[in-house]
């Protein structure tokens, strides 16, 4: 590989990584947390019991919807499992006569038309929270902005990430030779080794998650192939996402069959668990029940659906097998979301995600460390340096603090508070704002210590609070064999302890005295300065 090609890609790598690095850090961190989305949905509603009998919940959901929304246009029930907090149900009321129903999917799901059915089949009584779903949504919709803007920003960031990974591979000269190299106490070179390690060791994951991330947004980011082939996009979507034609309401009342019977039949036909149930025109003679397979049961995100007649449960329709490109796209989206992953695979995804988050963070810090060593006057760095350093502290130190604050808000905010779920999220951004302030006021070393230390302390103590004041603490969850909840508490303690240790490391760091760079006038040799033994360590190779 020619030297100038490598150099050109090195420049590209630095800038594509730097310009969007802070956005990428937040996306990676939120996305990594989102792998435990369902677990957090449960953890953030500690009042709720684990679901043992999904069909009991389903029966309860049907009874609830029958009572609450007997004449709705449609019902939606998310089939629960022992990992979910409950069965999320939505219903869509009949449109007012004369009002057009816009779009294929109909109206927005408002807060009034949803409920959570708990393990006993009754509506769950739990604190209002977005749970783990917040982290999932946030990593592509962000917050406080129209989702289209957020997705464009995330899409551009993902493309920058892809370019950074590919150019990084080209630039990395001795990728195999230096595979196990970690020079310690060597400033910029240590940070480079760390950045390389987190990048290379999980390289297949990073490439996959970035490319597939772009694919999940492809309809918005790259609609041009559609434009080239279709004047009427409805034709394409009907081909790619086939569904049963919606039946008009007949007006004749007819009771809906027991959904449990239909779902059991569907699970038999699908050869796997059901994921969701959609009932169109319940209580009417023209009612239909569509059961979609669970995404956990297959790699593709596009699970097949089966449609049944609502009155007697007769099987009516099945999704036709998709074509090759559709299967590929579905598999790519499925790989990204990782819903197919059981615990073992999910842990690998999570660890790789942590690696990716550290890769982005170490890259951003490396930029600063490298340039600090080259500053002509370390006391007065140029504006670009100060800006990057401030952003590093504010984002890498601030966002994790926000997450810790949000988890505490989930524990402490009053149950009856209005807009409680939104306020948990406001707590995240308020804490992040405070971190921004700290980054602006304290010098960098002190700011890092304060932010990392505070985050560490907050995370490490939540499980203690859980034991003392929450319905379920670590001893209880371990005894019940509820490893999902126990695992989250243990992970929080581990992250907390690691951050505290890192904060201590930063606080006690004493950089080695540098040899003076300036040449003695007259062309004399540089005067050596004795330093601490730190750069006596040379790599053995």
């Amino acid at each position: 590989m020619s030297k100038s090609f490598r150099q050109s890609q090195s420049f590209l790598h630095t800038w594509s990584g730097l310009l969007l690095g802070w956005v990428l850090f937040v996306i990676f961190m939120a996305g990594t947390i989102a792998f435990w989305r369902e677990g957090l949905n449960r953890w953030m509603r500690p009042e709720l019991d684990r679901i043992e009998q999904p069909y009991t919940v389903l029966g309860g959901a049907q009874r609830f919807l029958q009572g609450k929304a007997a004449d709705a246009k449609s019902w939606y029930i998310a089939m629960p499992s022992d990992k979910s907090a409950g069965a999320q149900v939505y219903w869509q009321p009949q449109p007012e006569p004369g009002k057009e129903r816009g779009g294929r999917r109909g109206g927005r799901r408002s807060r009034e038309n949803q409920a959570l059915i708990g393990a006993d089949g009754l509506p769950a009584v739990a604190r209002e929270t977005r749970g783990g779903d917040f982290f999932y949504r946030f990593h592509f919709d962000l917050h406080y902005m129209p989702v289209i803007w957020a997705r464009w920003l995330v899409g551009v960031a993902a493309m920058a990430m892809l370019v950074a990974i590919l150019s990084g591979i080209v630039t990395h000269k001795k990728i195999f030779k230096d595979f196990f190299t970690l020079r310690r106490g060597k400033g910029q070179r240590s940070w480079l080794d760390g950045h390389n390690a987190t990048a290379v060791l999980a390289l297949p994951f990073h490439l996959m998650i970035t490319y597939t991330g772009l694919v999940t947004l492809m309809a918005m980011l790259m609609p041009w192939a559609v434009v080239a082939n279709y004047a009427d996009t409805e034709k394409l979507y009907d081909r790619l996402f086939p569904h049963v034609e919606e039946q008009a309401r007949s007006g004749t009342r007819a009771p809906l069959i027991d959904l449990g019977r239909v779902v059991r039949n569907a699970e038999q036909r699908l050869g796997g668990p059901a994921g969701s149930i959609n009932v169109s025109e319940p209580g009417d003679a023209a009612a239909t029940i569509t059961v979609t397979g669970a995404p956990s049961a297959m790699l593709s995100s596009r699970a097949p659906s089966l449609t049944y007649r609502g009155t007697d449960g007769a099987f009516v329709w099945e999704t036709p097998a998709p074509g090759g490109a559709s299967v590929t796209a579905g598999a790519m989206i499925g790989l990204h979301a990782g819903r197919f992953a059981d615990y073992g695979m999910r842990w690998l995804y999570f660890l790789c995600g942590i690696g990716g988050t550290l890769m982005v963070a170490s890259g951003l810090v490396l930029w600063i460390v490298k340039r600090r060593e080259k500053l002509p006057d370390p006391a007065r760095p140029h504006f670009g340096f100060r800006l990057v350093e401030w952003l590093n502290i504010a984002v890498i130190g601030g966002f994790p603090l926000g997450v810790a604050a949000m988890l505490w808000a989930n524990r402490l905010l009053p149950m009856a508070m209005k807009d409680r779920a939104e306020w948990e999220i406001h707590a995240l951004f308020i804490a992040w704002g405070v971190a921004l302030g700290i980054a602006s006021v304290l010098r960098s070393g002190r700011a890092w210590t304060v932010l990392l230390g505070a985050t560490g302390a907050l995370l490490a103590t939540i499980p203690v609070y859980n034991v003392l004041a929450a319905p379920r603490g670590l001893p209880a969850t371990l005894l019940q064999g509820d490893y999902l909840l126990a695992g989250i508490d243990l992970a929080l303690m581990t992250f907390g302890a690691s951050l505290l240790a890192t904060a201590r490391r930063v606080a006690t760091y004493r950089p080695a005295a540098k040899r003076p760079r300036k040449r003695v006038p007259g062309g004399g040799a540089q005067a050596p300065v004795s330093s601490s033994g730190l750069h006596a360590m040379e790599p053995a190779e």
Binding site: F11, V163, M222, W224, A225, N229, G324
Partner: protein
């Protein structure tokens, strides 16, 4: 920027560098996306088989083309070379797409 030659030479060099960099950045970001999009359109028209499948396949590939264009924009010998090669690549794709649509229309 340290002056090693006469001041007139370095000022011109500096502008040359800025121009080169600007061309590369334009080549990488707006132009690269446009070229990838045009090739997505051309592939969607030209790939054999079912139109819906070809459309999806072309879209999946387009992201790799976009990244490739950005890498080329910086690897090319000069900013100008990066720019005109991508324009040509885009024009070819655009031409193929246009001819195909003129020929058999859209669904």
């Amino acid at each position: 920027m340290t002056a090693t030659t006469g001041s007139k030479g370095t000022a011109a060099d500096a502008w040359k560098r800025r121009g080169d960099m600007t061309l590369r950045i334009v080549a990488a970001v707006p132009l690269g996306y446009a070229v990838a999009s045009l090739w997505a359109m051309a592939l969607a028209r030209l790939l054999p088989g079912d139109r819906a499948e070809a459309t999806v396949a072309a879209t999946l590939v387009a992201f790799a083309l976009c990244a490739g264009a950005a890498m080329w924009a910086f690897a090319a010998r000069s900013g100008w070379r990066a720019f005109w090669t991508l324009v040509v690549a885009g024009a070819i794709a655009g031409g193929l797409t246009w001819l195909s649509i003129m020929g058999s229309g859209r669904l």
